[in-house]
Amino acid sequence: MNGSLFPPLATFGHGPQTIAIALATPLVFLLACASPRLRALRPGILALAPVPALAAAVLAADSGPLVLDQMLFPAVFVLDPPGALLLGVSALLWAAAGAYAIAFMRDETENAWFVACWLLTLLGNVGVFMAADVASFYLAFALVSLPAYGLIVERQREADEVGRLYISVALLGEAFLIIAFAALALGAPDHSLLISDGVGALAASPWRDATIGLLIAGFGAKIGVIPFHVWMPSSYRAASIPAAAVLSGAAVNAGIIGLIRFLPWDGAIAGWGNALVALGMFGAFYGVAIGLTQRNAKTILAYSSISQMGLVAATLGAGLLAGTAVAASGAALYAAHHGLAKGGLFLSIGVVMTRGSGRSAWPIPFVLLLALSLAGLPPTGGALAKLAIKEPLGDGVLGALSTLSAIATTLLMLHFLLRLRETRAACSEKYAREKFATGLIVPWLVVTAASVAVPAAYFWETAPDASALFDYRQFVEFLWPVIIGALLALISLRRIGRAPQAPEGDIAAFLPRAAKRIGAIGSYIEWTESVTRNWPVAAATLLAIATTLAGIGLLDR
């Protein structure tokens, strides 16, 4: 795979500058947002900030790194093909969701905190696809994870618990990653901070297994690998529709690019490869199973993300097992398509809400297209995404499971559509008089179109044999699971709709009790500390320390 989204223009020699502008634009807008005088410009900022990143993805792939070496940790940014693909779709989604937000939530887009969190998350999201050194990557990853808190809690008055869960998992991921990155850099020649140097030396590193385990846990927390998926359902539900769209479609891919960049694709690592495959495949079905019991349209989409990301994780695990980078490029395309489709689906919730039952139902076929695209319905982009992960998953058990998961996804997506219809009925009154429909429909249609066009364009450029696109056997192979899923839905969805609802975030329901346990340890520590603050104890401790320090030396002789 050596092409890019589009072939680099031969005359384009400004890669580093383009990368710099892509990174600087959200930052400049962020500073502008602090000025009250520029307050009026704020909404437009949301739609414009990602545009240079989109341009960079199209123009600057493979065209030289941006190196900032006058710092303690030299920063290196570069756009390789999977990075450019994911950056392109993410930037497109950010721009569309920004435009959508302007129409959908005028008040929030006037709020400086909301805009600041939006821009910081965007900055991290743009940076994470281009960062080529460990420190920049860590910075970008922290930015795409932590400020998103503001996007999740902003809309809800009672989002405290949702936000706390989100930030806890995000921080846990950061803690895993910082140790993994430190171990990675230590193994690299001359302690180089370049990711490629660290990964190159990983196979021979004494900390290889610990590092890979921490990387999988850290990035797994971002993409919702079981058991780190607990934050996803409630966060996507609590966030506003455009925020949920960028989180589920763009921010989540920070975890995918992390796995792609940091895992060694030439190692044939059995232990962690098997673990990732198992966790991923389990998540692929677990997400659907729990998702089917949910009522809220956004929660259902979140569970679909858990399922889809599980499939990507399994693909990457298979690549780790086989020691081949084909899995990485396949996973990138799959994740790119998932981002557009999932983002489009979130945006469609608002579109459908504003087209009440009395109005035309023309958006429904498009929603259906997006939904079944996730299941791989040919000739949507989803079929190409499935094609991309077909080779790494192979024809054996994993291939069969992948097909089964397409059936399951069809079922879940039709369940989502049913729930969406109910949402529409419930919301049409509230939004009937709103005039913002066009501002929602245009960005949504752009994303929907991209979900079809981008995988096709990418395949056209990169596939060794583009004739696979027109192979009818392929067509049938991807079509029948969708048909079976649809038939299953016809039979069972009514019954599933009456099934008891699993708590949102499923095993997250146990967390408050666990937190209470941990809190008990905290109060024990607090008690111990209060003892050490007593005068007699403190004075005795001081003497004991002096004696111990002296004693060590005296006895040591």
């Binding site: 922290a142 808190y149 405290d160 950061e174 910082i178 900390w207 002296a550 030396g553």
Partner: protein, 507 residues
């Protein structure tokens, strides 16, 4: 190398060292003559000159790539007394001058004398104490003679304690008394040790002592006593009983100086003792104990910070925790190992970046308290709409404490973390990672409600806060963050004159 003190002589530009100590002392004496508004003005002008002097010292250290030395009156030790500035001293001088100056400007709002108004006791006291704290800190960072250092330490204690109880309330008086008594215990132990060393080796000069000290009972007892005394003054867990009430009770600009700088001075001397003075084989067993106490401080301090109801106490406990990181330097920077250099630089950066971050956080806590009329975290909802810049300054300081890039805290913790992993001391690496999580937790406790919309309209309209104070808090926080963008030469600068070469050269 400068270790053989026999040849200790004043280097070029060595006169800068006594100048930066005498400058605040002179200003303080002048203040007694001038009084009132002119004290404030003098102090502010002098801090500006002090920044220039500190910068000049750092520049010369960097240019000459060796420690700067000044021998008083040309009498080389043991007859005379020497001052010495290595890379770490120099950066501490710069940080001290900047932070003292910033807190001085910040204090104009609460301790500025207005024209025509009668001079108040706390006002005059604050400015003279500020100058003496600063002079004492410079003395500690430059001192190379154990008795001189004792004088500087005492001056520091006697200037810092009254800062705690400037408002004269019972609670702060109690806190100050606690601080004083415990610090005096520490002083007694330090003096005991210093006297023992003098008796055994006939020298007080650190350089001379480093050549003479042997691992024998007298040295062990002396160093143990001095270390324990210094730990009490640093408030290293479990000797921290005085810190939370003192740092939380002092007026915000005083808290900023106490938490950012004063506790670092005694840590700095522990480093001097075990890395500059004692032979390396003595330090190895001790290092693990110091690090274990540091780890305890990180865990216990953070957990307590997570459980405080008041913002200033939360920040004070966070100081208890962050001081712990400094003591992880001992097992990592000792010995002739490849990682010792990273650990040394990491420790120095942790001291500096925590100083800026913590000063910013205490100043923003002052602004928040002023705006709301209280510092109860449970009632912070909607704060982000009332005092947004103060919340941003607090958050940026928090970014550095958490060790998130691009802050100085990230660089520091990254260096310490890699040193811990490389040396196979995984336990310390784990403690650092957990400490980062806890730090995020207690910063989150403040930021999360601040970002949330106000639940009910606040009973009293918020008091407007000074824009100068806000700008200063933001500037300090940005400094902590921008340290991460420092040029790579900083690594080399911090290693100038560092006690690493003795253990084997690094790089």
């Amino acid at each position: 190398m400068l270790m053989a003190s026999d040849g200790l002589a004043t280097t070029s530009a060595g006169f800068l060292l006594p100048s930066i100590i005498m400058l605040p002392v002179g200003a303080m004496l002048l203040a007694f003559l001038l009084g009132g508004r002119r004290t404030v003005l003098t102090a502010l002008i002098v801090t500006a000159v002090g920044i220039a002097l500190a910068a000049a010292i750092a520049f010369v250290v960097w240019q000459e790539d060796r420690a700067l030395v000044y021998v008083v009156g040309g009498w080389a030790p043991p007859l005379g007394v020497a001052f010495r500035a290595d890379g770490f001293s120099a950066i501490m001088l710069v940080a001290t001058a900047l932070i003292v100056s910033a807190t001085g400007w910040f204090a104009l709002d609460s301790f500025g004398a207005t024209k025509g108004a009668p001079e108040t006791r706390p006002t005059f006291a604050f400015w003279t104490l500020l100058l003496s704290v600063w002079a004492a800190l410079n003395g500690v960072f430059l001192g190379w003679d154990l008795f001189n250092l004792y004088v500087a330490l005492e001056m520091l204690t006697f200037a810092a304690v009254p800062l705690v109880c400037l408002d004269g309330r019972t609670a702060t008086l109690t806190a100050a008394l606690r601080y004083l008594l415990f610090a005096l215990l520490g002083s007694a132990l330090y003096l005991l040790g210093a006297t023992l060393l003098y008796g055994a080796y006939g020298a007080l000069d650190i350089g001379l002592l480093s050549a003479r000290v042997r691992p024998e009972p007298a040295a062990w007892v002396a160093l143990a006593a001095m270390t324990a005394g210094l730990l009490a003054k640093t408030a290293l867990f479990p000797l921290h009983l005085w810190l939370p009430p003192a740092h939380a009770g002092a007026p915000p600009p005083a808290s900023a100086m106490l938490s950012a700088l004063v506790v670092k001075a005694s840590f700095f001397l522990v480093l001097r003792l075990w890395l500059n003075l004692a032979p390396s084989q003595m330090g190895e067993g001790i290092a693990q104990i110091l690090a274990a106490m540091g780890a305890g401080a990180i865990i216990v301090g953070s957990v307590l910070a997570l459980r405080q109801a008041r913002l200033k106490l939360l920040i004070a406990y966070s100081t208890v925790a962050q001081l712990g990181y400094l003591f992880l330097v001992f097992p990592l920077a000792a010995g002739a190992h490849a990682w010792a250099g990273s650990a040394w630089v990491g420790g120095a950066l942790q001291a500096v970046s925590h100083a800026f971050a913590k000063a910013a956080m205490f100043l923003s806590a002052g602004l928040i308290t002023k705006a709301l009329g209280h510092d109860r975290i449970a009632e912070f909802r909607g704060l982000g709409r009332i005092a947004a810049p103060a919340v941003v300054a607090f958050g940026l300081g928090g970014v550095s404490l958490m060790g998130l890039p691009p802050s100085g805290g990230f660089t520091a913790k990254w260096l310490l973390l890699t040193a811990a992993i490389e040396s196979g001391q995984w336990a310390w690496a784990l403690v650092m990672a957990v400490g980062g999580l806890f730090a995020a937790g207690y910063v989150y406790r403040v930021i999360a409600p601040a970002l949330a919309p106000a639940q009910t309209p606040s009973p009293a309209p918020p008091t407007p806060v000074s824009s100068r104070g806000t700008a200063l808090a933001l500037a300090l926080a940005l400094f902590a963050v921008m340290l991460g963008f420092a040029p790579p030469e900083l690594f080399g600068f911090l290693k100038v004159g560092a006690p690493l070469a003795r253990h084997g050269s690094v790089e």
